[in-house]
């Protein structure tokens, strides 16, 4: 059973460009959340997708957008890249149910470097 998979693992982009990161959730999970982790910091919540809709959003500008597909996989898009967008981007999947979202499993992340 594959866990959460993310692609690509590493990416280098130029300031001003656009980037798309991809995530496939753990089998049986229906919810995908994206996090940005700067070096030496804890992950920061970007947004969460469930039933192909953005359900929650953190304090990130509109340059950050996403999508969830019918098979529950998800994409994170970042437009007009800034040097400060350089970070590890993590995808977490979980199962939405009951009063609580279940344990979130994280992927290995995509290391984005903006030059």
């Amino acid at each position: 059973d594959a866990g959460v998979t993310q692609s690509p693992t590493h990416l280098i982009k130029t300031r001003g460009q656009q980037v798309t990161l991809r995530c496939s959730p753990k089998s049986g999970h229906d919810t995908v959340s994206w996090y940005q982790q700067a070096l030496g910091q804890g992950p920061q919540f970007i947004f969460q997708y469930y039933e192909e809709e953005e359900r929650q959003r953190g304090n990130f500008p509109d340059r950050f957008s996403g999508h969830q597909f019918p098979n529950y996989s998800s994409e994170l898009n970042v437009n007009a890249l800034l040097l400060g967008d350089s970070a590890l981007y993590l995808c977490a999947s979980s199962l939405m149910g009951g009063a609580y979202n279940t344990e979130a499993f994280f992927g290995q992340g995509t290391r984005l470097t903006v030059v």
């Binding site: 959340s33 910091q41 804890g42 992950p43 919540f45 969460q48 929650q56 609580y100 979202n101 979130a104």
Partner: protein, 116 residues
């Protein structure tokens, strides 16, 4: 503001010792907490979780303690091994009905180094 933070940014222990990593949270509405382990170059790995209707939960070599009175969370690792060396994060998840349902708020992390 809302935050989940750690008291100690670094912790060094000898192999075989017990380790205790602490975490403070500020949001009294938080009722679900998770500890993650993150090794270099990898994503966070789930260790153990606890809900606010409990004050202690045990796993394999790990115990999480929750003190809601002082909004404090701790992770105890028994017989710490070199393979336990990593960054440990506590994270808070908020209950349904709130505007932050399903959003994990992480602390800065504690670096645990285990010396052979």
């Amino acid at each position: 503001g809302e935050s989940v933070g750690l008291h100690l940014p670094t912790l060094s222990v000898q192999e075989g010792d017990n380790s205790i990593i602490n975490c403070a949270y500020s949001n009294s509405a938080s009722d679900y907490f998770i500890w993650y382990k993150q090794e270099s170059g990898k994503g966070p790995q789930f260790i153990i979780d606890i809900r606010s209707n409990m004050d202690k939960r045990q796993g394999q070599r790990v115990t999480v303690l929750l003190n809601k009175t002082v909004k404090h969370l701790s992770l105890q690792i028994a017989a710490t091994q070199p393979g336990d060396s990593a960054v440990y994060f506590c994270a808070e998840n908020r209950p349904a009905g709130g505007t932050s349902y399903g959003k994990l708020t992480f602390g800065q992390g504690t670096i645990l180094t285990v010396h052979p």
